[in-house]
Symmetry: C2
Protein backbone atom coordinates (compact mmCIF):
# COMPACT_ATOMS: atom_id res chain seq x y z
CA UNK A 1 0.00 0.00 0.00
CA UNK A 2 2.85 2.42 -0.76
CA UNK A 3 0.84 5.08 -2.59
CA UNK A 4 -1.26 5.66 0.53
CA UNK A 5 1.71 7.02 2.43
CA UNK A 6 1.56 10.20 0.40
CA UNK A 7 -0.24 13.28 1.65
CA UNK A 8 -2.24 15.66 -0.52
CA UNK A 9 -2.59 19.37 0.02
CA UNK A 10 -5.75 21.20 -0.99
CA UNK A 11 -6.43 24.93 -0.98
CA UNK A 12 -9.98 26.31 -0.76
CA UNK A 13 -11.65 27.52 -3.94
CA UNK A 14 -13.90 29.75 -1.86
CA UNK A 15 -15.83 30.10 1.36
CA UNK A 16 -19.35 29.34 2.58
CA UNK A 17 -21.70 31.89 4.07
CA UNK A 18 -24.68 30.66 6.07
CA UNK A 19 -26.74 31.51 9.15
CA UNK A 20 -25.18 28.56 11.01
CA UNK A 21 -22.50 29.67 13.44
CA UNK A 22 -22.81 27.08 16.23
CA UNK A 23 -21.83 23.51 15.27
CA UNK A 24 -24.28 21.72 17.58
CA UNK A 25 -27.19 23.86 16.34
CA UNK A 26 -26.43 23.27 12.65
CA UNK A 27 -28.77 20.92 10.75
CA UNK A 28 -26.94 17.70 9.95
CA UNK A 29 -28.01 17.46 6.32
CA UNK A 30 -29.66 19.63 3.64
CA UNK A 31 -32.89 17.60 3.95
CA UNK A 32 -33.27 19.04 7.47
CA UNK A 33 -32.35 22.56 6.35
CA UNK A 34 -34.61 22.89 3.35
CA UNK A 35 -35.61 26.49 3.75
CA UNK A 36 -32.16 27.63 4.73
CA UNK A 37 -30.48 30.08 2.39
CA UNK A 38 -26.75 30.49 2.08
CA UNK A 39 -24.15 31.39 -0.49
CA UNK A 40 -20.77 30.31 -1.67
CA UNK A 41 -18.17 32.94 -2.52
CA UNK A 42 -15.74 31.63 -5.11
CA UNK A 43 -12.23 33.00 -5.69
CA UNK A 44 -12.21 35.32 -8.72
CA UNK A 45 -9.58 33.22 -10.51
CA UNK A 46 -12.13 30.39 -10.73
CA UNK A 47 -15.07 32.49 -11.96
CA UNK A 48 -14.66 31.22 -15.53
CA UNK A 49 -15.15 27.66 -14.30
CA UNK A 50 -18.69 28.51 -13.11
CA UNK A 51 -19.98 28.96 -16.67
CA UNK A 52 -22.88 26.59 -17.56
CA UNK A 53 -23.46 25.74 -13.89
CA UNK A 54 -26.72 27.68 -13.63
CA UNK A 55 -28.62 25.10 -15.71
CA UNK A 56 -28.27 22.57 -12.89
CA UNK A 57 -30.87 22.59 -10.10
CA UNK A 58 -28.59 20.92 -7.53
CA UNK A 59 -24.88 20.80 -6.82
CA UNK A 60 -22.64 18.76 -4.55
CA UNK A 61 -20.45 20.90 -2.34
CA UNK A 62 -17.25 19.37 -0.96
CA UNK A 63 -15.76 21.30 1.92
CA UNK A 64 -13.29 21.12 4.76
CA UNK A 65 -15.06 20.44 8.08
CA UNK A 66 -12.96 23.08 9.83
CA UNK A 67 -14.59 22.69 13.25
CA UNK A 68 -14.48 18.88 13.39
CA UNK A 69 -12.56 17.18 16.20
CA UNK A 70 -10.03 14.36 15.73
CA UNK A 71 -11.18 11.18 13.99
CA UNK A 72 -12.97 8.58 16.11
CA UNK A 73 -13.83 5.15 14.79
CA UNK A 74 -17.01 4.60 16.84
CA UNK A 75 -19.48 7.47 16.93
CA UNK A 76 -23.00 8.14 18.08
CA UNK A 77 -24.75 9.43 14.96
CA UNK A 78 -26.71 12.66 15.40
CA UNK A 79 -29.85 10.90 14.19
CA UNK A 80 -29.77 8.03 16.69
CA UNK A 81 -28.48 6.97 20.11
CA UNK A 82 -26.64 3.76 19.25
CA UNK A 83 -22.91 3.80 18.51
CA UNK A 84 -21.92 2.99 14.90
CA UNK A 85 -18.75 2.58 12.87
CA UNK A 86 -17.65 6.02 11.66
CA UNK A 87 -17.75 5.16 7.94
CA UNK A 88 -21.37 3.99 8.32
CA UNK A 89 -22.23 7.58 9.33
CA UNK A 90 -21.77 11.12 8.03
CA UNK A 91 -20.24 12.26 11.35
CA UNK A 92 -17.64 15.04 10.91
CA UNK A 93 -14.84 13.49 13.04
CA UNK A 94 -13.21 11.62 10.12
CA UNK A 95 -9.57 10.89 9.21
CA UNK A 96 -9.98 13.32 6.29
CA UNK A 97 -12.69 15.77 7.40
CA UNK A 98 -14.29 16.38 4.01
CA UNK A 99 -17.97 17.30 4.10
CA UNK A 100 -20.38 16.49 1.29
CA UNK A 101 -23.74 18.25 0.85
CA UNK A 102 -26.21 18.15 -2.00
CA UNK A 103 -27.79 21.61 -2.08
CA UNK A 104 -30.18 23.47 -4.33
CA UNK A 105 -28.61 26.01 -6.69
CA UNK A 106 -30.81 29.08 -7.09
CA UNK A 107 -28.56 31.40 -9.11
CA UNK A 108 -25.00 32.16 -10.14
CA UNK A 109 -24.10 35.86 -9.84
CA UNK A 110 -20.50 36.42 -10.82
CA UNK A 111 -18.46 34.65 -8.14
CA UNK A 112 -21.45 34.05 -5.87
CA UNK A 113 -23.60 30.90 -5.86
CA UNK A 114 -27.00 31.49 -4.27
CA UNK A 115 -28.05 28.29 -2.51
CA UNK A 116 -30.92 26.74 -0.57
CA UNK A 117 -30.87 23.80 1.84
CA UNK A 118 -27.56 24.81 3.38
CA UNK A 119 -26.45 22.64 6.33
CA UNK A 120 -22.92 24.04 6.36
CA UNK A 121 -21.30 26.23 9.01
CA UNK A 122 -20.59 29.85 8.17
CA UNK A 123 -16.97 30.44 7.05
CA UNK A 124 -16.44 26.82 6.01
CA UNK A 125 -13.66 26.52 3.39
CA UNK A 126 -15.04 25.15 0.12
CA UNK A 127 -12.95 22.59 -1.79
CA UNK A 128 -14.99 21.72 -4.86
CA UNK A 129 -18.34 22.09 -6.63
CA UNK A 130 -19.74 19.27 -8.75
CA UNK A 131 -23.03 19.37 -10.65
CA UNK A 132 -25.67 16.82 -9.68
CA UNK A 133 -26.18 14.91 -12.93
CA UNK A 134 -29.44 12.92 -12.77
CA UNK A 135 -28.01 10.37 -15.21
CA UNK A 136 -25.05 9.67 -12.87
CA UNK A 137 -26.37 10.34 -9.41
CA UNK A 138 -29.94 9.13 -9.09
CA UNK A 139 -30.01 5.94 -7.10
CA UNK A 140 -33.34 4.18 -6.73
CA UNK A 141 -33.88 1.12 -4.55
CA UNK A 142 -30.93 1.90 -2.28
CA UNK A 143 -30.83 0.33 1.19
CA UNK A 144 -29.87 2.73 3.96
CA UNK A 145 -28.55 0.26 6.56
CA UNK A 146 -29.20 1.30 10.15
CA UNK A 147 -30.72 4.61 9.02
CA UNK A 148 -33.70 2.77 7.50
CA UNK A 149 -34.81 1.80 11.02
CA UNK A 150 -34.82 5.38 12.34
CA UNK A 151 -38.35 6.70 12.04
CA UNK A 152 -38.98 9.91 10.09
CA UNK A 153 -40.09 11.91 13.12
CA UNK A 154 -36.96 11.06 15.13
CA UNK A 155 -34.69 11.68 12.14
CA UNK A 156 -36.24 15.07 11.48
CA UNK A 157 -36.33 16.23 15.09
CA UNK A 158 -32.77 15.15 15.86
CA UNK A 159 -31.42 16.04 12.42
CA UNK A 160 -32.69 19.62 12.38
CA UNK A 161 -31.07 20.27 15.78
CA UNK A 162 -33.44 23.09 16.60
CA UNK A 163 -33.20 24.80 13.21
CA UNK A 164 -36.61 26.25 12.30
CA UNK A 165 -38.13 24.90 15.49
CA UNK A 166 -41.46 26.38 14.47
CA UNK A 167 -41.74 23.89 11.64
CA UNK A 168 -41.00 20.76 13.64
CA UNK B 1 -11.83 35.69 2.49
CA UNK B 2 -8.97 35.07 4.91
CA UNK B 3 -9.84 31.48 5.89
CA UNK B 4 -9.44 30.40 2.27
CA UNK B 5 -5.74 31.14 2.33
CA UNK B 6 -5.16 28.06 4.46
CA UNK B 7 -4.19 24.73 2.99
CA UNK B 8 -5.38 21.35 4.24
CA UNK B 9 -3.41 18.15 4.16
CA UNK B 10 -5.15 14.79 3.75
CA UNK B 11 -3.66 11.33 3.97
CA UNK B 12 -5.29 8.33 2.26
CA UNK B 13 -7.39 5.96 4.35
CA UNK B 14 -6.73 3.22 1.80
CA UNK B 15 -6.30 2.43 -1.86
CA UNK B 16 -8.52 1.38 -4.76
CA UNK B 17 -8.09 -1.77 -6.80
CA UNK B 18 -9.80 -2.00 -10.17
CA UNK B 19 -9.26 -3.34 -13.70
CA UNK B 20 -8.82 0.25 -14.96
CA UNK B 21 -5.17 1.10 -15.56
CA UNK B 22 -5.37 3.52 -18.50
CA UNK B 23 -7.04 6.88 -17.76
CA UNK B 24 -8.54 7.43 -21.23
CA UNK B 25 -10.04 3.92 -21.26
CA UNK B 26 -11.66 4.25 -17.82
CA UNK B 27 -15.45 4.70 -17.73
CA UNK B 28 -16.27 8.24 -16.61
CA UNK B 29 -18.94 7.31 -14.07
CA UNK B 30 -20.25 4.22 -12.26
CA UNK B 31 -23.39 4.27 -14.42
CA UNK B 32 -21.17 3.39 -17.40
CA UNK B 33 -19.22 0.76 -15.45
CA UNK B 34 -22.10 -1.16 -13.93
CA UNK B 35 -20.71 -4.63 -14.23
CA UNK B 36 -17.24 -3.62 -13.18
CA UNK B 37 -15.95 -5.13 -9.96
CA UNK B 38 -13.29 -3.56 -7.78
CA UNK B 39 -12.29 -3.34 -4.18
CA UNK B 40 -11.11 -0.82 -1.67
CA UNK B 41 -8.35 -1.79 0.75
CA UNK B 42 -8.63 0.20 3.95
CA UNK B 43 -5.76 0.81 6.39
CA UNK B 44 -6.02 -1.60 9.35
CA UNK B 45 -6.19 1.26 11.87
CA UNK B 46 -9.54 2.26 10.36
CA UNK B 47 -11.09 -1.22 10.29
CA UNK B 48 -13.24 -0.51 13.36
CA UNK B 49 -14.84 2.42 11.53
CA UNK B 50 -16.25 0.02 8.89
CA UNK B 51 -18.68 -1.59 11.36
CA UNK B 52 -22.37 -1.26 10.32
CA UNK B 53 -21.41 -0.30 6.76
CA UNK B 54 -22.52 -3.59 5.22
CA UNK B 55 -26.21 -2.75 5.68
CA UNK B 56 -25.90 -0.02 3.05
CA UNK B 57 -26.32 -0.97 -0.61
CA UNK B 58 -24.35 2.02 -1.96
CA UNK B 59 -21.49 4.18 -0.74
CA UNK B 60 -19.90 7.41 -1.90
CA UNK B 61 -16.16 7.12 -2.38
CA UNK B 62 -14.07 10.29 -2.21
CA UNK B 63 -10.61 9.91 -3.65
CA UNK B 64 -7.59 11.79 -4.90
CA UNK B 65 -7.52 11.93 -8.70
CA UNK B 66 -3.83 11.09 -8.78
CA UNK B 67 -3.48 11.09 -12.58
CA UNK B 68 -5.33 14.35 -13.21
CA UNK B 69 -3.52 17.21 -14.92
CA UNK B 70 -3.47 20.83 -13.71
CA UNK B 71 -6.78 22.62 -13.28
CA UNK B 72 -8.34 24.18 -16.37
CA UNK B 73 -11.40 26.40 -16.19
CA UNK B 74 -12.86 25.50 -19.59
CA UNK B 75 -13.02 21.82 -20.46
CA UNK B 76 -14.55 19.58 -23.06
CA UNK B 77 -16.63 17.08 -21.07
CA UNK B 78 -16.07 13.43 -21.94
CA UNK B 79 -19.76 13.06 -22.71
CA UNK B 80 -19.99 15.89 -25.24
CA UNK B 81 -17.95 17.98 -27.69
CA UNK B 82 -18.78 21.49 -26.54
CA UNK B 83 -16.56 23.31 -24.05
CA UNK B 84 -18.08 23.96 -20.60
CA UNK B 85 -17.11 25.65 -17.36
CA UNK B 86 -15.12 23.18 -15.25
CA UNK B 87 -17.48 23.28 -12.26
CA UNK B 88 -20.42 22.41 -14.55
CA UNK B 89 -18.63 19.11 -15.30
CA UNK B 90 -17.09 16.20 -13.40
CA UNK B 91 -13.81 16.56 -15.31
CA UNK B 92 -10.74 15.54 -13.24
CA UNK B 93 -8.57 18.63 -13.90
CA UNK B 94 -9.88 20.59 -10.90
CA UNK B 95 -8.17 22.98 -8.44
CA UNK B 96 -8.63 20.28 -5.76
CA UNK B 97 -8.66 16.99 -7.68
CA UNK B 98 -11.14 15.11 -5.47
CA UNK B 99 -13.15 12.42 -7.23
CA UNK B 100 -16.65 11.39 -6.13
CA UNK B 101 -18.26 8.09 -7.14
CA UNK B 102 -21.43 6.43 -5.94
CA UNK B 103 -20.74 2.70 -6.11
CA UNK B 104 -22.52 -0.47 -5.09
CA UNK B 105 -21.27 -2.13 -1.89
CA UNK B 106 -21.38 -5.92 -2.16
CA UNK B 107 -19.60 -6.98 1.03
CA UNK B 108 -17.25 -5.90 3.78
CA UNK B 109 -14.54 -8.47 4.53
CA UNK B 110 -12.22 -7.19 7.24
CA UNK B 111 -10.42 -4.24 5.68
CA UNK B 112 -11.69 -4.96 2.17
CA UNK B 113 -14.82 -3.46 0.61
CA UNK B 114 -16.10 -5.49 -2.34
CA UNK B 115 -17.63 -3.10 -4.85
CA UNK B 116 -19.47 -3.01 -8.18
CA UNK B 117 -19.79 -0.17 -10.66
CA UNK B 118 -16.21 0.97 -10.19
CA UNK B 119 -15.14 3.82 -12.50
CA UNK B 120 -11.93 4.51 -10.58
CA UNK B 121 -8.35 3.94 -11.70
CA UNK B 122 -6.37 1.15 -10.07
CA UNK B 123 -4.10 2.40 -7.25
CA UNK B 124 -6.16 5.54 -6.64
CA UNK B 125 -5.67 6.86 -3.08
CA UNK B 126 -8.96 6.77 -1.17
CA UNK B 127 -9.80 9.73 1.10
CA UNK B 128 -13.20 8.92 2.59
CA UNK B 129 -16.19 6.57 2.50
CA UNK B 130 -19.69 7.86 3.21
CA UNK B 131 -22.84 5.76 3.23
CA UNK B 132 -25.54 6.65 0.70
CA UNK B 133 -28.49 7.47 2.93
CA UNK B 134 -31.72 7.45 0.88
CA UNK B 135 -33.28 9.97 3.28
CA UNK B 136 -30.46 12.46 2.62
CA UNK B 137 -29.31 11.74 -0.88
CA UNK B 138 -32.25 10.91 -3.09
CA UNK B 139 -33.00 13.84 -5.33
CA UNK B 140 -36.03 13.61 -7.56
CA UNK B 141 -36.94 16.24 -10.16
CA UNK B 142 -33.38 17.50 -10.52
CA UNK B 143 -32.42 19.40 -13.68
CA UNK B 144 -29.13 18.32 -15.22
CA UNK B 145 -28.22 21.48 -17.14
CA UNK B 146 -26.34 20.82 -20.39
CA UNK B 147 -26.22 17.08 -19.67
CA UNK B 148 -30.00 16.82 -20.14
CA UNK B 149 -29.55 17.57 -23.83
CA UNK B 150 -27.01 14.78 -24.43
CA UNK B 151 -28.91 11.78 -25.72
CA UNK B 152 -28.62 8.46 -23.89
CA UNK B 153 -26.85 6.69 -26.71
CA UNK B 154 -24.13 9.34 -27.00
CA UNK B 155 -23.71 9.55 -23.24
CA UNK B 156 -23.32 5.80 -22.93
CA UNK B 157 -21.00 5.33 -25.88
CA UNK B 158 -18.71 8.21 -24.95
CA UNK B 159 -19.01 7.66 -21.19
CA UNK B 160 -18.04 3.98 -21.24
CA UNK B 161 -14.88 4.80 -23.26
CA UNK B 162 -14.67 1.32 -24.69
CA UNK B 163 -15.27 -0.50 -21.40
CA UNK B 164 -17.31 -3.65 -22.10
CA UNK B 165 -17.55 -2.82 -25.76
CA UNK B 166 -19.60 -5.94 -26.31
CA UNK B 167 -22.46 -4.43 -24.37
CA UNK B 168 -22.61 -1.13 -26.22
Amino acid sequence: MNPVNQAFEYTPIGIMHSPHTVPHETPIQPVFAQACPGWAEIRPEYAEGLRDLEGFSHVYLLYHLHRAGPAIMQVEPFMDTQSRGLFATRHPCRPNPIGLSLVELLAVEGCILRLRGVDILDQTPLLDIKPFVPRFDQCQDARGGWTDSVNDEQARTRGARGFEKGNL
